[in-house]
């Protein structure tokens, strides 16, 4: 555990000296802020025109979308760069287990995304002050839980793919490809096939987020699903680091 923390702490610090991480943060907040502002303008200019009062999902909805593209940018470097620079040899000869290295890397990126999520709480707080009787708190809790769970899963997929490459851009594009499939495309075959479509439905991340967590529904099965994807990603990442030793 101690090694995981040591590695995560280093990665977390490095994000704050990396221009890429700031750019990712900036884009996320620009998009979320823009959408938020549009909603507020809409609300203040035409308070009776809306069917429903705005809630925390005007932040978490676009944020989930943004994470599909930002998570690969944040994880691409993590293990691919260690291989390119040769520092993987340093890590693999230090008294650190392979899984500790992979989990530490993932946890560092997760902490960074948690920081972004933490900052994004500003928007619901503003909203809470503007509308009466305040935000739907259960919905906010559940949609933020959803964001945290999908971040964990996205970053874990990114780390596992970063472990397979020594070129960070290859890792970026493949991670993004996998996330685009799991987020946007996997719903399509479920509608085409009458039998066997359940598998695709089961894997559909998008439906599990927008269909339930982001609507205030906390299902144990969704939580288990995202945690399983996270664990699977970290496992694959560990295996692929282990196989590096044999080459």
């Amino acid at each position: 555990m101690r090694n995981i923390w040591t590695i995560a702490k280093r990665e977390y610090k490095i994000y704050f000296s990396s221009p890429l991480a700031y750019i990712v943060m900036l884009i996320i907040f620009a998009v979320i802020g823009g959408i938020f502002a549009l909603n507020i303008i809409n609300l203040t200019s035409n308070p009776f025109g809306m069917n429903q009062a705005p809630d925390a999902t005007i932040v978490t909805g676009p944020m989930a979308f943004m994470l599909v593209f930002s998570a690969p940018a944040l994880t691409m470097r993590l293990l691919a760069d260690e291989q390119r620079m040769g520092t993987l040899e340093l890590m693999l000869t230090a008294p650190v287990r392979d899984w500790e290295l992979v989990v530490g890397k993932w946890f560092g990126s997760f902490l960074f995304v948690l920081t972004i999520i933490g900052f994004s709480l500003v928007f619901p707080l503003i909203l809470n002050g503007m509308i009466d009787p305040g935000l739907d708190q259960q919905l906010m809790l559940s949609s933020y839980l959803g964001i945290i769970l999908i971040s964990a899963a996205f970053l874990s997929i990114g780390v596992s793919i970063s472990a397979m490459f020594s070129n960070q851009f290859a890792a970026f594009f493949l991670s993004m490809g996998v996330l685009v499939i799991l987020w946007f495309l996997i719903g399509i075959p479920a509608q085409i096939f009458f039998t066997g479509g359940e598998i695709f439905d089961y894997l559909n991340m998008n439906a599990r987020f927008y269909g339930s967590l982001n609507r205030g529904v906390i299902n144990l099965s969704d939580i288990v699903y995202f945690l399983s994807i996270t664990a699977l990603g970290l496992f694959i990442g560990t295996v692929s680091i282990e196989t590096r030793r044999w080459r």
Partner: protein, 310 residues
């Protein structure tokens, strides 16, 4: 401290290390000598717990490198040939990070002490990315020394250093080698000669020779050599010197320079000098030519190659 038996490593169909066996004791500096691609780095990587061997066994500080890899890694300090470092960290932060991974108590003090040992204490706050090759080499060495390892494995520790730094690093290694086990690889033969208690010559994945530098020299030479220089042409002198008792061979080199061989322990120099002067030549210079480890090395690897071809 290090026990290796029947160690073999294949990369696909290429055999990088072929059934090597050796041991190194505590307080010994063992040198790995060999051309590039001989299998030195591969052997060191196996011993440092980086990769498992294809066949054979190795124990370091009493632990098996495969099944007890973490225990091995705790007790080994390893400096890889490429000196990988996190260039986006300062020297101090980097070493502190490595100290934390090794769970060292008083990590910061240890980092300070080690930096002093390699003479980098005033560069602690500089970014590694801005350091010269020699400085990086020293940071790498500091990383390997941080936890006072029982076994130190150094892959080409002095490569890329300027002569002053080479001397410093060698002194550090010599100091450590008094109490601990040091395994170092080099292709600078004089380094092996100066630094190592014992030398393993590796070629094509096999051990070609193993002994102290002095013994290797003695056993392989078979004869001693000397050279002499006279004013003018020395062609007529060759036959005269050949007749001197004990001299086994004479060869002309450049103008006025002859090289002669004689049986070890039978000093013929006085007689050779007398003969030269008697023959009417002006003797300008005469000195023994020691056979260097370089010659031994070339001879050994050449023999090996000849065997392979035949």
């Amino acid at each position: 401290m290090i026990r290796v038996s029947g160690l073999t490593k294949d990369y696909g169909i290429r055999r990088a290390v072929d059934n090597i066996t050796f041991e190194a004791e505590q307080g010994e500096i063992l040198g790995f000598l060999g051309p590039n691609g001989a299998g030195k780095t591969t052997t060191m990587r196996i011993l440092s717990g980086y990769m498992p061997p294809t066949e054979g066994e190795a124990t370091v500080a009493g632990f098996d490198v495969v099944s007890e890899s973490i225990d091995v890694r705790r007790r080994v300090g390893y400096l890889p040939e490429t000196v990988p470092l996190y260039t986006d960290m300062t020297v101090f932060d980097y070493l502190k990070f490595m100290a934390d991974l090794r769970h060292l108590p008083n990590g910061e003090d240890r980092v300070d002490d080690t930096l002093e040992m390699v003479g980098m204490e005033n560069r602690a706050d500089g970014y590694i990315g801005n350091l010269s090759k020699g400085m990086r080499q020293r940071v790498g060495l500091a990383q390997a020394l941080l936890h006072k390892p029982e076994v130190l494995i150094l892959d080409e520790p002095t490569i890329g250093l300027d002569p002053g730094q080479v001397v410093e690093v060698r002194n550090v290694i010599r100091e450590i080698g008094k109490e601990r086990t040091v395994l170092l690889s080099t292709h600078v033969l004089s380094e092996a000669q100066q630094l190592c208690d014992r030398v393993l010559i590796i070629n094509k994945g096999k051990i070609a020779a193993e002994d102290t530098p002095a013994n290797l020299q003695a056993s392989l030479i078979g004869s001693e050599r000397g050279m002499l220089r006279v004013r003018g042409e020395a062609d007529d002198l060759i036959d005269k010197i050949r007749k001197v008792k004990g001299v086994s061979n004479v060869q002309p080199k450049e103008d006025g320079v002859l090289e002669f061989q004689f049986a070890p322990g039978q000093d013929v120099r006085a007689e050779v000098a007398r003969t030269t002067v008697k023959a009417g030549y002006d003797l300008l210079e005469m000195r023994p030519i020691g056979m260097s480890l370089e010659d031994i090395f070339l001879q050994l690897t050449r023999e090996e190659n000849a065997e392979m071809e035949s």
